[in-house]
Assembly symmetry: C2
Homo-oligomer: 345 residues x 2
């Protein structure tokens, strides 16, 4: 696992979360926070407004010792959707671009794909051919494409792709399209001894190789959809884990609370999503006892990113917008609540 | 999740791991360790010998900055089997006793069990009727018995049972039968910024309610076999997760490396087991690059606990004993390597 980005890499994470990334310095940092906060050193890319205020107010409530809503650090579980919540999901999911590139790269070994859908369509039209497929269909395609390769080899494939592929609109690595305000939110929560998890409908093997470096979220705190693997002793006598074609778990919609229960085993107190696929996760989080926070990233900024919600094919946000007011979920108006969307802007 | 034992409970964990349980004090503690170790303050229930020496030597190697085998704290993943490795698994798995008690408790609502195996046998003969069933058969029985109850209700059932049930031989709560030397090992590893996980063939929902309190291992660091759950909006409009009869994942034998890959996403550098079901986990751990440690608890102490290995129905250790020498796995001779087996002895 030496190719796994380590929690100690010099990375955006350590830059952003600063000393908070080093557990031994949490205490001094925590003392510093009181002043830091009043000086507005946290959440710098967030405009002052009800959403920023509600985040700071919630964190203060659950971290104030002897407060009625105090939550011990070990139980400060925060969950975040990935696509559209932590990074850009338009005009296609990064994983769709990856799948398309993988199909093209592997096509020479699969002549049958020339006449088999959706492979043929991808080879003819590129990633757009996959724009309409569902999360589970996409994972099935990837599972088929990578059947028989080891998890270590797949991890290397993902790392090679994520460091070289570029976003079609911004012409930058996809990892540059992490939302700066959300990275600051992760750092802010870590500094207050929250334990942030990703809970994504995307493939867990596609995320884990880079989430630590980009978000400061280590592999064991990434929950996602997964395919089955098989333990085998290789020809050289070395054990390997081989990817099978069979899907194992889809972590989307109602699968998100199920995935949280299975991977984390505690109900989160803080959750952030951006689409109707996140609604069950927000419901599960905010219906628990005690103080709870849920937020929705509403994409309202066509100029700096994208503007979409109720009718969108990707990241459709319809039920979520309807449910937010009665559930007191904070809705981020990207255009007005975020000073910056990306670090490079 | 308020009934979940919190990481901050005053518990055996905090007593044992002492300040190490508090991340902000890891640094001062680490400095203290250098002296503490030479003063033999760690691993007090371990007799001096090759196994204790190899553990201390390994931890020093991977934690020495600038050392050739240094591993960053974030990557110091340690995995432990539960039954027979962290606590007593004889004369029957605690989970078997739990299942038997549950079948008896639920029998009135299931008249059909009077004529249906294995339920009928349990109602007639008690837990012994389940002694021969496999891990997956046992989980299927539990899944059937608890179909339709919520995960919160099941958690409460487990907590009620674990605090009242008593071990047939020692007449104490099963949680008193955690191995004192292994609790000290967990504390020692935590103090050196290892992240310990349980990887058990047992049901994850049976372990998570108490592993934090007993071992200092929080729910999100417990991997085990699981059944499917379904997200529903209850009659009162509140979301619930309901247990289904269907098994989802068996974390035993080759399923342990698969479970480690799926739940943790990194290859461990340290692993401990006690039976042939743990061999794939030990192979997977020690075949990775860099310094690796694997240990086997060999039950050789009929007087203080039990003596069993190659022919045992429970915790059969045959392949593991054969594989240990060539793989340089440390084999704990319980009788000679452990000063005490249980805290109460």
């Amino acid at each position: 696992m030496t190719s796994t980005p380590s929690s100690n890499d010099v990375s955006r994470r350590t830059v952003l979360s600063g000393l908070a990334a080093v557990p031994v310095l949490v205490a001094p940092l925590r003392l510093a926070n009181a002043q830091a906060q009043t000086q507005g050193a946290w959440l710098q890319s967030w405009n002052e407004g009800p959403v920023k205020a509600s985040i700071i107010e919630f964190v203060a409530r659950v971290t104030t010792p002897d407060g009625a809503d105090f939550v011990p650090p070990g139980e400060r579980i925060a969950v975040f959707d990935n696509d559209g919540t932590l990074w850009c999901e338009q005009p296609i999911y990064a994983q769709v671009a990856f799948a398309s590139d993988q199909i093209r790269a592997l096509a020479p070994q699969h002549p049958e794909w020339r006449t088999k859908q959706p492979f043929q369509a991808v080879l003819d039209q590129g990633a757009e051919a996959l724009a309409a497929v569902s999360q589970s269909e996409l994972l099935e395609i990837l599972a088929v494409a990578h059947t028989g390769i080891t998890v270590d080899a797949f991890q290397k494939t993902v790392l090679d792709w994520i460091t070289t592929a570029r976003h079609p609109r911004f012409d930058r690595p996809y990892t540059d399209l992490a939302y700066q305000p959300m990275l600051e939110l992760l750092a802010y929560l870590r500094a207050h001894e929250f334990k942030p998890f990703i809970v994504s409908g995307g493939g867990i093997d596609f995320m884990r190789p880079w989430t630590d470096k980009v978000y400061g979220i280590p592999p064991e705190q990434a929950v996602g959809s997964s395919g089955k693997t098989q333990f085998e002793i290789g020809a050289d006598g070395k054990p390997v884990l081989v990817k099978l074609a069979e899907l194992e778990f889809i972590s989307d919609g109602p699968g998100k609370p199920a995935g949280i229960n299975r991977f984390i085993g505690r109900r989160p107190i803080f959750a952030f999503g951006n689409s109707d696929g996140d609604v069950p996760m927000l419901q599960w989080t905010t219906s628990g006892p005690g103080a709870r926070f849920a937020g929705i990233v509403h994409h309202t900024d066509a100029e700096r990113e994208w503007a979409y919600d109720r009718q969108s094919n990707i990241g459709k946000l319809n039920k979520g917008l309807d449910a937010a007011p009665s559930n007191k979920w904070a809705v981020v108006d990207m255009k007005n609540d975020w000073k910056r969307v990306f670090a490079f802007q």
